[in-house]
């Protein structure tokens, strides 16, 4: 792995980005999904490849669990807030842990960030753990960080224990 060099053209620091990612996690913990999806810019995408997929997995050629364009992402949020999204009614309790935040390249117009995650979901006496890393493409617009793309890679061999990806991990 090459030595990490902070991109020069980026006008936000890692701690600014951490604040943003921790804030995102708090919205997800609190099921504030309408506020969460507002962190994405128009045209953004949200992906969860199948467990163990490589970082360059492409939803145009490989089967994922989730490959949402902006329209379907907003529809996913609408769905999850309905009583008829049975798997999440009543809402499961979730806790999103985010760490190891690194800026891996880019400039204010688009920069890449990776983080590690451990997300716990609990419902009816069962607790499931989702763990892996997120890859973000973020952008700065009028001083605010926005998500252009979020991909959540799961490190488990499969999701036989978790069964489904019914929450935003």
């Amino acid at each position: 792995m090459s030595a990490h060099v902070l991109p020069r053209k980026l006008s936000v620091s890692r701690s600014d980005i951490e604040d943003f990612l921790f804030g995102e996690a708090a919205l997800l913990d609190d099921w504030k999904l309408t506020e969460w999806v507002a962190l994405f810019e128009q045209g953004a995408s949200y992906y969860v490849p199948t467990a163990g997929a490589p970082d360059d997995a492409d939803p145009a050629t490989s089967l994922f669990y989730i490959a949402d364009d902006y329209h379907r992402l907003t529809e996913r949020v609408k769905r999850l807030l309905k009583r008829t999204a049975h798997v999440e009614f009543p809402h499961s309790r979730c806790r999103h842990m985010v760490s190891n935040v690194r800026i891996t390249g880019g400039d204010d117009s688009a920069f890449s960030v990776t983080s590690n995650f451990a997300t716990y979901r609990s419902k009816r006496g069962r607790t499931e753990l989702y763990f892996g890393h997120h890859l973000y493409v973020l952008t700065l617009a009028s001083g605010a960080i926005r998500i252009r793309q979020k991909t959540s890679f799961l490190d488990s061999d499969d999701i036989a224990e978790q069964g489904k990806v019914s929450i935003i991990i």
Partner: protein, 426 residues
């Protein structure tokens, strides 16, 4: 005989069709004794789906996969022969192949370094001179092949029973419906990269029922239909008006129906725009040329959810999924799901197909997670099986023209299950 009769004194499948009664005892979903019989009489004797030929397309390609609780190697030898072996060294039993897939000239067990070619033959045994000359005379030191391995239209099945009927006979009437899927491309079909390996906290038979259950669609998947409406400005045209369940015999069953969603082969929806419309029109024209109007229309517009007894599903709906599921315990199953697509499909079409697949199917879709929940709730409800002991599967009994919202297809499954688990005498 009535609802007061103790459950244990009745057969698990209480089939009194003439009286409008068809019930299944909830004990069948929770008791480990039942699972033991299923492992022996069903998973030990039925043809079980292993994989598709396209997953090991080149000589040397292999993958490892679990079927019926066995750990298997599915491989294509350098002579282009498709093989399946138990993934265990004939020497001391260690798992020989630890990779999920790849291309190899040999498999080597790391424990004592015995090595095998892709036909399973022993090719290296360190300290060979210390073994008797005839130590592998009858192949005792080769990888053990599965008792039976046969294919139909690229789908490989195995059978643990040497005496089983041949695969084509076993598949019986399902072949007509497999053909409707495999005929979708003149060059054949292929499995797309990426397997969805997930699980349900429920008995495996609940997913057999659910996979071809037309009755649960609206209530369970209301949010999916909300999404279709919101995306396409309405539910859209189903084109074909049929709704037919078929008991195919042997426990196999299929439902055929029209539905509002888009089908990559070859029914467009407004969200796909003019490009999607043109493309599906061209695909339909090609189908018509190959098969004539009637069959082309059946391939293009009709949806099919089929269960090949006991645990293989081919759903040809808004995309095509192949799915297997098998018990880990009475209340837990593992599921493998793949996307099947035409070979050489145009990149835009492939992209649209995969997008379509994920709108409904799989652990992150808008529908399957709710099935996951429904089945888990059934299983949790069976904690009460001692007192609330029966599932009702009588819908549509004795109807002249049952629809897919009736339960003909589940009864087909359960009658075969009963025959195998409870025997003909029950």
């Amino acid at each position: 005989m009535g609802f007061q009769t103790p459950v244990a004194e009745l057969p698990l499948v209480d089939d009194r069709s003439a009286q409008g009664i068809f019930r299944v005892a909830r004990r069948a979903f929770v008791e480990s004794d039942v699972l033991d019989i299923e492992r022996r009489e069903i998973f030990g004797k039925c043809w079980l789906y292993l994989g598709h030929e396209s997953e090991i397309a080149e000589p040397g390609d292999f993958l490892t996969r679990g079927v019926a609780g066995r750990s298997l190697i599915f491989a294509r030898s350098k002579d282009d022969e498709v093989r399946a072996f138990f993934n265990t060294c004939p020497h001391r039993g260690a798992m020989v192949c630890r990779e999920r897939q790849g291309n190899a000239a040999m498999f080597r067990c790391f424990y004592h370094s015995w090595a095998f070619d892709l036909d399973g033959k022993l090719i290296m045994r360190p300290g060979n001179e210390s073994y008797a000359e005839n130590a592998n005379a009858n192949g005792e030191h080769n990888l053990v092949p599965v008792p039976r391995l046969e294919a139909y239209r690229g789908l490989y099945f195995l059978n643990l029973d040497h005496n089983a009927v041949d695969l084509a006979t076993y598949l019986g009437n399902t072949k007509e419906f497999i053909d409707l899927v495999m005929d979708q491309c003149a060059d054949g079909m292929e499995v797309v990269g990426g397997t969805q390996e997930y699980g349900f906290k429920a008995n495996w038979k609940l997913l057999a029922e659910n996979s071809m259950d037309g009755y649960h669609g609206q209530p369970t998947h209301a949010t999916y239909f909300d999404y279709v409406m919101s995306t396409n400005g309405g539910l859209g045209d189903t084109v074909v008006k049929i709704s037919k369940p078929h008991d195919l015999g042997g426990g196999h069953a299929v439902v055929e129906y029209g539905a509002p969603w888009g089908r990559p082969i070859a029914k467009s929806v407004p969200a796909w725009g003019k490009e999607g419309e043109d493309e599906t029109a061209a695909l339909r024209a090609s189908l018509t040329q190959r098969f004539g109007e009637e069959r082309a229309k059946r391939i293009a517009y009709t949806n099919r959810n089929m269960v090949i007894f006991p645990n293989f599903v081919i759903n040809d709906i808004m995309a095509i999924t192949l799915r297997t599921f098998e018990p880990v315990g009475p209340g837990q199953m593992r599921v493998n799901a793949w996307a099947l697509a035409p070979k050489g499909e145009a990149p835009k079409s492939r992209q649209r197909r995969l997008y379509n697949y994920l709108e409904f199917l799989g652990p992150g879709g808008f529908a399957t997670p709710d099935d996951c929940e429904a089945l888990a709730l059934c299983q949790e409800g069976y904690a009460n099986a001692g007192e609330a002991g029966w599932n009702d599967i009588s819908k549509g009994l004795n109807q002249d023209r049952p629809s897919i919202e009736d339960e003909v297809q589940m009864r087909a499954f359960w009658r075969e299950w009963s025959l195998r688990v409870e025997g003909e005498g029950r």
